[in-house]
Symmetry: C2
Subunit: 340 residues, 2 copies
């Protein structure tokens, strides 16, 4: 069982630099432990985690960062397994991370779900890490970004961040990867409506999975329909038109074309500096997102603010208080609080 | 010239309640003055503006709030003029507000542009207010929301908020209206790509304008193509499938169908409480947006933070500093600053 959870004892290694060295030498237990440290909400752990990340920073970034998303049942796990087995045959090292806000519902059960990506978990060049249970989406995404850096420092040159398509998570994932891959499946007529509006705009590559057997024709029709739909939309990048491919992850058909497209994209984006620019923008946006999240957390953690929220929200919702007046009341409470 | 700018003298009426009464009696000069007060950034004006809005709050909401957006050149002004003349014939009172971040480029020139909605500006039951020049998008949207309430209290039972399609402004407008209308124009094949990805998801109604003369066939083809594209996307609301209509605002063709659809939508949304729910959510989201904006403003206005931004952003962008560490440095500077 290679899906590592990494139990964090109270005893964090005295020297974070020792942990960093063991991450760099790709010690699996240490990688898992480092990510658990990163996911910890204890302030002392947080401080150590930031120290660790700063230490590892120089060894990150030499990676292809892929996001994979799609509605439930589209075959994300099978796709990632098949693509994963394909790339490790090409001597890549792969890390798979999950941003899955819905996994909080099933608690820790994802960890025990051994049938998911079973073949991939047996490979030594693969590191798989599910989301911590009980986290909020924002929290998961923040820590997944950091976990990605740990995996990169450990020599994983392909990182796949997986998320189920439930709305905000796709944007969060798109903002941390080089290429966002959207999976969909064959369908006819009114059955379509699979992709949430606004998510298609995020895709750098759209793949119709399950293009096999009886569904082959429907898959090709769906491919054409998405190609037409994408023509109606402005391109996300001036240098790249989102391709629509078909594949069968289950029967391992079309995976080579997927991999070629990933490489084409990566080469094109690297050549004209667009990749570096995207990463620079992501890093700055990430810094500001951290700032915003911290400010909001401080705000909501203020007891005098927390006391007022319910009453003010009720009055604003029923129209008896202007939203701006509600905001002023909250801000006044907060600044009174921080001045104490 | 009915497009009111409302010069705000230093002497604000002693009694805000007097101003509120004159707004309620639909005194045009007072409406304009009230909006200018709302747009003012002076803290004493802001306090008065909030007082005014609280006073007017009970007289707001009995309105159909429409957002109209679309790329430059699609004919937004003509459409609003034609629709506006149509609804005032039906004895409605109309207010038109603009959220136009690009108008800052042209400075105050929009004000002088008399050819824009010339016929509409001559009508006494119409109040037109362009964006204040020199404002940021966030600021314009914040104040436009408040200006909308003033117009409602003054008895304008239809409010149209217009925005040019430049990205974020559509989301800002969608978050303050009952129905978001997206305009597009006829085009063939590769010429399409008019609507920015992700904006289509916001539309409660999509209209292909310029469906006249030589463009009539192309308009109908475009209508079909957008209908097909929308089928591929999940609906924004379970009770409403975004219709795609054609019209010619210039030749006043198809405006009755547009108006019927607006009424159908409003009736359906009112009947099942969806409208009230959307407005409740908008009000609470608005309160929190005000809080976030204020916190961010306080943060960025802190001199010690401002001093560090450029250096930290550079180091985060070139990868020599972890984004989280950059955020920590900014937050530490800020909390040191506020504790002084």
């Amino acid at each position: 069982m290679r899906r590592e959870a990494g139990v964090l004892t109270n005893k964090v290694p005295k020297e974070i630099s020792e942990m960093a060295n063991k991450v760099r030498s790709s010690d699996r237990r240490t990688i898992a432990q480092a990510i658990t440290l990163i996911e910890s909400t204890r302030p002392d752990h947080r401080a150590l985690a930031e120290q660790l990340l700063s230490d590892l920073l120089d060894d990150t970034g030499k990676t292809i960062r892929l996001g994979v998303s799609g509605p439930p049942g589209v075959g994300k796990s099978t796709f990632i397994e098949t693509l994963g087995l394909y790339v490790i045959k090409k001597r890549h090292k792969l890390a798979v991370l999950t941003v899955d806000p819905s996994s909080t519902l099933s608690g820790g059960s994802v960890l025990g779900d051994k049938t998911r990506m079973e073949r991939l978990t047996r490979e030594s060049d693969v590191f798989i890490r599910p989301s911590p249970s009980g986290s909020t989406l924002g929290g998961v995404a923040r820590r997944t970004r950091e976990a990605m850096l740990v995996c990169e420092a450990a020599g994983h040159d392909i990182v796949i961040v997986e998320t189920v398509g439930v709305g905000q998570s796709e944007t969060a994932v798109r903002d941390m990867v080089d290429m966002f891959i959207l999976l969909t499946q064959p369908a006819g007529g009114d059955e379509l409506q699979g992709i949430k509006r606004g998510v298609m705009e995020l895709a750098d590559l759209l793949i119709v999975n399950k293009a096999d057997g009886e569904l082959l024709n429907a898959a090709q029709r769906t491919q054409t329909e998405y190609r037409n739909a994408l023509q109606l939309l402005r391109s996300a990048s001036p240098d790249w038109t989102t391709p629509v491919l078909t594949c069968s992850a289950l029967y391992e058909i079309g995976i080579d074309a997927v991999w070629d497209t990933i490489n084409d994209y990566h080469m094109m984006m690297s050549k004209n500096e667009a990749l570096q620019e995207r990463r620079r923008e992501q890093a700055i946006a990430w810094m500001w997102a951290e700032v915003r999240d911290a400010l909001n957390e401080q705000f909501r953690a203020s007891p005098v603010v927390a006391d007022k929220i319910e009453d003010l929200e009720t009055r604003v919702a029923n129209g008896s208080l202007a939203p701006v007046a509600g905001a002023q009341a909250l801000l006044a409470a907060f600044s009174g609080d921080t001045q104490l």
